[in-house]
């Protein structure tokens, strides 16, 4: 039964959802502090190339993910400098990260002898749970068949929810995103909070990118995220900036990504190009559906100061 189509496709959806989840969680934290960062795709690519390189050098999954997180955070801090300190248009700044991240990762990935493009994956990604659990019918492959990063994703969801709702720093962060002037008056360091949240956003995207290249794709290819970063940006809106809903949404998008694999196994003949469109059509439709429903839009409201720069002197 563990070889059945349904079980295999759910298990593959869980893995495919992991990079989307990490990137979306990071973006939720950044957004909650009032910083809109559209550069997720670029940060994922930098995280991916740095992570893949580090994995190749060391053979360690931990170091590869750490390096990926650092790479994403490095790019995110450029956005923080532009968006928080220099107060430029956050949309434009975020888009510039996409282009810089894409260019930088392709350049690094193609340069050098031999280049990363031809490098095999040196990191062993092993299942986390013992075989006895993995062999359980149905729940084995779906719940226990994955590597440690998949479970870290769930831990990150719990941690993000707890931090945002239950800790003083989380409340401060949200205050900065809702009303920076009031937060400032209450003594919360607005600029520092926003830098920190933006950097966490970059770490999430970077880890997501590193995991994507090492555990899912298995090689480095220029532009290998192929829109996953943008799916994460859309997912944050759909999830109404809530980590739990992002988890569910990431699973749904992971399922759409894995749909091709499933249909192939089921011997249903759907052109692969149409399958590739699916997540993007879904994101397009759901963004419209969320916007078109005022009741839902109120309940899942964006942080009030999202994408608004804060200048103390302009108060």
């Amino acid at each position: 039964m563990n070889d059945s189509l349904l079980v295999l496709s759910i298990a593959s959806a869980v893995v495919a959802s992991t990079p989307i989840l990490f990137a979306a969680l990071g973006e939720i934290i950044a957004n909650r502090s009032g910083v809109m960062n559209l550069g997720v795709e670029g940060m994922m690519l930098v995280g991916a190339v740095v992570g893949f390189w580090a994995g190749n050098e060391t053979g360690s999954l931990t170091l590869a993910l750490l390096a990926g997180g650092f790479g994403g955070a490095g790019l995110a801090l450029i956005h923080a400098l532009l968006a928080v300190t220099l107060r430029v248009d956050q949309t434009v700044s975020g888009l510039s990260l996409v282009i810089v991240g894409g260019g930088f990762s392709s350049f690094i990935g193609t340069s050098g002898e031999p280049s990363l493009l031809s490098a095999p994956n040196a990191v062993d990604v092993v299942p986390f749970f013992p075989e006895a659990l993995r062999d359980l019918p149905a729940v084995g492959p779906i719940l226990f068949g994955h590597d440690v990063v998949v479970y870290l994703g769930v831990v990150a969801v719990i941690a993000a929810t707890w931090i945002l709702n239950r800790t003083p720093s989380g409340l401060s962060l949200r205050a900065v995103g809702e009303d920076p002037a009031a937060a400032d008056a209450a003594g919360i360091p607005v600029v520092r909070m926003r830098y920190l949240a933006t950097a966490i956003g970059g770490i999430g995207a970077g880890i997501g990118g590193a995991y994507l290249t090492i555990a899912i794709v298995g090689t480095w290819q220029n532009g290998l995220t192929a829109g996953i970063g943008w799916i994460a940006v859309a997912l944050v809106i759909l999830a109404g900036w809530r980590p739990w809903l992002a988890l569910i949404g990431a699973l749904a998008f992971g399922g759409l990504n894995g749909l091709g694999f499933t249909l192939q196994l089921a011997q249903v003949d759907v052109p692969s190009d149409f399958l590739k469109m699916m997540p993007f059509i879904a994101a397009y439709l759901v963004v419209i559906a969320v916007s078109g429903n005022p009741a839902r839009a109120r309940r899942l409201a964006a942080p009030a100061a999202l994408a608004q720069p804060y200048a103390r002197e302009a108060r």
Binding site: S96, I99, S106, N222, F274, G292
Partner: protein, 376 residues
């Protein structure tokens, strides 16, 4: 406190500042790029020298650059017209593909005996309509449900890319040449190909420059253009003044989509001479966004900026001969985007360093004014 950085908004930046800051930002981006090249073990001076020779030195180099600038001017205009109204059309890439698909369909479908002017005219119109339609898929939800156009236009890019790939790689469609062993588009007949001006440079450059002038005139001299800019400055004031923001959103995005699509028409008709996804999907639409930002959404500014970015892109293939990855082109374009964006802060704000507390009373030559609308 011994020293203090003081930031004051400028009421109105003089033209020296408005042009000088982006120029400095450009140089800074090239310096950063040079630094990265040096760290990667290349000689940056040799690299820039090679780039200059490959793209600007002499007429044949220049004509290659202008050939590449042609679609970039059009996608730059597409992004610029939307920016004028503070609408973000990130979908130029997909609209370009739709233009290429529609124009190549018309070129292959109409009889080969159709007069060239009619044929090219029909291809341009069909392409523009297809691009406008693709943009409206995002504009209608934006106007009526306030759906974020950044996300919707972007998602539609990926849909359009898969659609174009399907037509050539995934199926035996009308566009695909069944006789070629490697999947590719049918070649357009001679009367569907934009005439060459010199080498690779073709008639499309004239279309692009005329489009820039016409768009500039529309934005500056017509009431439609005035309303677009007013809505961009203050949507609320504009709707109090009786302007229909919804209809303008549809109109601006349709025009923007049509312009990006004409870039696609120009590419299939003037360069690839058939629907060739690999030749068409080269981030021309995304580069248009950088161009519009650097040109500060001014249609006439789009032309020189597009030529400059085209010069960088043209040099890419030559760089391989001295052992530098082509991808450095995207890195440089991104760095330019980044530094010019950062430079906007210095255009709209004056930064001074003050040493003592007495300097709290700054020179009276420039009173601190309110931020101009949209300066942040």
């Amino acid at each position: 406190m011994t020293s203090l950085i003081r930031v004051e908004p400028r009421g109105h930046a003089g033209s020296w500042v408005r042009f000088g800051v982006p120029a400095l930002a450009l140089l800074f981006a090239l310096a950063l790029g040079g630094g990265i090249l040096a760290i990667a073990g290349n000689n940056p001076f040799e690299a820039y020298r090679t780039m200059f020779d490959a793209s600007l030195n002499g007429w044949s180099a220049m004509s290659r650059t202008l050939a590449l600038a042609t679609p970039l001017i059009l996608t730059g205009l597409a992004a610029a017209v939307a920016f004028q109204m503070r609408v973000y059309n990130i979908g130029g890439e997909g609209q370009l593909y739709l233009g290429a698909i529609a124009a190549s369909w018309v070129g292959l479908y109409l009889p080969e005996t159709t007069p060239m002017v009619l044929m090219l005219g029909a291809m341009l119109i069909a392409g523009a309509l297809a691009g406008a339609f693709w943009a409206l898929l995002a504009a209608i939800p934006k106007a009526y449900f306030n759906a974020d156009e950044i996300i919707t236009t972007l998602m539609l890019n990926f849909v359009a890319l898969s659609l174009m790939n399907y037509l050539i790689f995934g199926s035996q469609s009308f566009w695909r040449d069944p006789r070629r062993p490697v999947p590719g588009g049918k070649r357009l007949p001679e009367n569907a190909i934009l005439p060459s001006l010199s080498g690779r440079l073709h008639f499309g450059i004239i279309i692009a420059v005329v489009a820039a002038v016409v768009l500039w005139w529309i934005l500056r001299r017509t009431s439609w253009g005035f309303q677009i800019r007013t809505i961009g400055d203050s949507p609320r004031a504009a709707s109090y003044a009786g302007m229909s923001v919804k209809l303008k959103t549809l109109g601006v995005l349709a025009v923007s989509g049509a312009l990006a699509a004409i870039a696609g028409v120009s590419e299939v008709s003037g360069v690839s001479k058939g629907l060739e996804p690999r030749a068409i999907a080269t981030e021309i639409g995304f580069t248009g966004i950088i161009i519009a930002v650097v040109a500060r959404s001014n249609p006439l500014g789009v032309v020189p900026v597009a030529v400059f970015l085209a010069a960088i892109a043209t040099a890419g293939s030559r760089l391989q001969s001295i052992g530098i990855a082509v991808e450095v082109v995207f890195l440089l374009q991104g760095l330019i985007f980044l530094t010019v964006t950062a430079g906007e802060f210095f255009v709209s704000n004056r930064v001074r360093f003050e040493r003592t507390a007495e300097a709290e009373q700054p020179g009276d030559s420039s009173p601190t004014t309110e931020l101009p609308a949209g300066a942040t």
